[in-house]
């Protein structure tokens, strides 16, 4: 198991880099969807962090809130591409406004089924 505690860090700030009003599950359902976030921001940043051995911190604060559909599509979607273990080792979550989100996202990552 890789020790990620002392790894250099990179950040993804959802509110400023993506949207303050994260939307639905998929692109065809509306703007700022979980699928859009996954494809445009989360996946490329995750790959960069993994390749450069950095810790990817996802800052969840500053938005109106997240629906399960968005979180499951984005983070569960990532876990359908990469191993859950690898994601949890590479990523960390910051949410001062809603601490429950970290537990929620980790659950979607662990429960994601590969299709």
């Amino acid at each position: 198991m890789i020790n990620t505690m002392n790894l250099p860090q990179m950040m993804v700030r959802i509110a400023s880099e993506f949207s303050e009003t994260p939307g639905p599950r998929s692109r065809d359902e509306g703007d700022y969807s979980g699928q859009q976030f996954l494809e445009e921001i989360l996946k490329p940043r995750f790959e960069e962090a993994k390749n450069t051995k950095q810790k990817l911190i996802v800052d969840l604060d500053g938005t109106d809130g997240y629906a399960t559909s968005f979180l499951e599509s984005a983070f569960g979607g990532l876990a359908r591409i990469y191993e859950s273990r690898e994601i949890l080792e590479t990523m960390a979550f910051k949410s001062n406004e809603e601490p429950y989100l970290e537990m929620e996202i980790k659950q979607y990552i662990k429960e994601a089924r590969k299709t």
């Binding site: 009003t21 939307g23 639905p24 599950r25 109106d64 629906a67 399960t68 559909s69 809603e98």
Partner: protein, 191 residues
């Protein structure tokens, strides 16, 4: 109730003082005199002071516990209120057959309040060192809260309106979560 408890503690303190005097007489072979001397008076006053201090100590200790419990119970009630508000909003959207942008934002904000009020309960239980109750609260509510959130913001939320299946699932999870919150109130009251 407070006065009654104070008298009980005073009685316990006096009884304890009496036991100490019997212990002194029988075990330490102290003499028992029928006449009252200055030392006896001193002992009597000591016993009264000791009983009074014990009463004050236990009174404060039990009083503090009650304040802690009341505080935690008020937080649980607040969490229950947020949960009820979320449910009311869900039912309005179900009845309207649509979820507007404003509804979406309100539902997400209400669920955030539910989650944060649960967090406040956890923090208070931890601060008050109610470890068993904290463990029970986490086991009882964490997964149910996520299930509840999934019921009303999962699937195709907010694109498609809620259907009968969503209604049934929400109803079931809401009742389970509410019943757990009430059971935690009873549990805290009986500590």
């Amino acid at each position: 109730m407070e006065k009654f408890r104070a008298w009980i503690f005073l009685a316990i303190g006096l009884f304890f003082g009496f036991l100490v005097s019997v212990f002194g007489k029988n075990i330490l072979n102290l003499t028992w005199k029928s006449e009252i001397g200055l030392g006896d008076l001193f002992n009597f006053v000591n016993t009264i002071i000791f009983a009074f201090l014990l009463q004050q100590y236990f009174q404060k200790r039990f009083g503090d516990k009650r304040v802690e419990k009341d505080h935690i119970i008020s937080l649980i009630k607040e969490a229950n209120n947020w949960l009820e508000n979320s449910r009311n909003k869900f039912i309005v959207c179900y009845d309207n057959g649509k979820i507007t942008k404003a509804d979406e934002q309100e539902i997400k904000a209400l669920l955030r309040n539910v989650a944060n009020s649960f967090e406040e309960v956890k923090v208070s239980l931890k601060e008050c060192k109610y470890d068993n109750e904290l463990n029970y609260f986490e086991q009882a509510t964490d997964s149910l809260y996520l299930e509840y959130k999934r019921n009303i913001t999962g699937g195709n939320f907010p694109t498609k309106p809620y259907d009968g299946n969503d209604f049934n699932e929400e109803e079931t999870t809401y009742q389970k979560l509410r019943s757990k919150l009430l059971s935690i109130i009873f549990k805290i009251n009986t500590i």
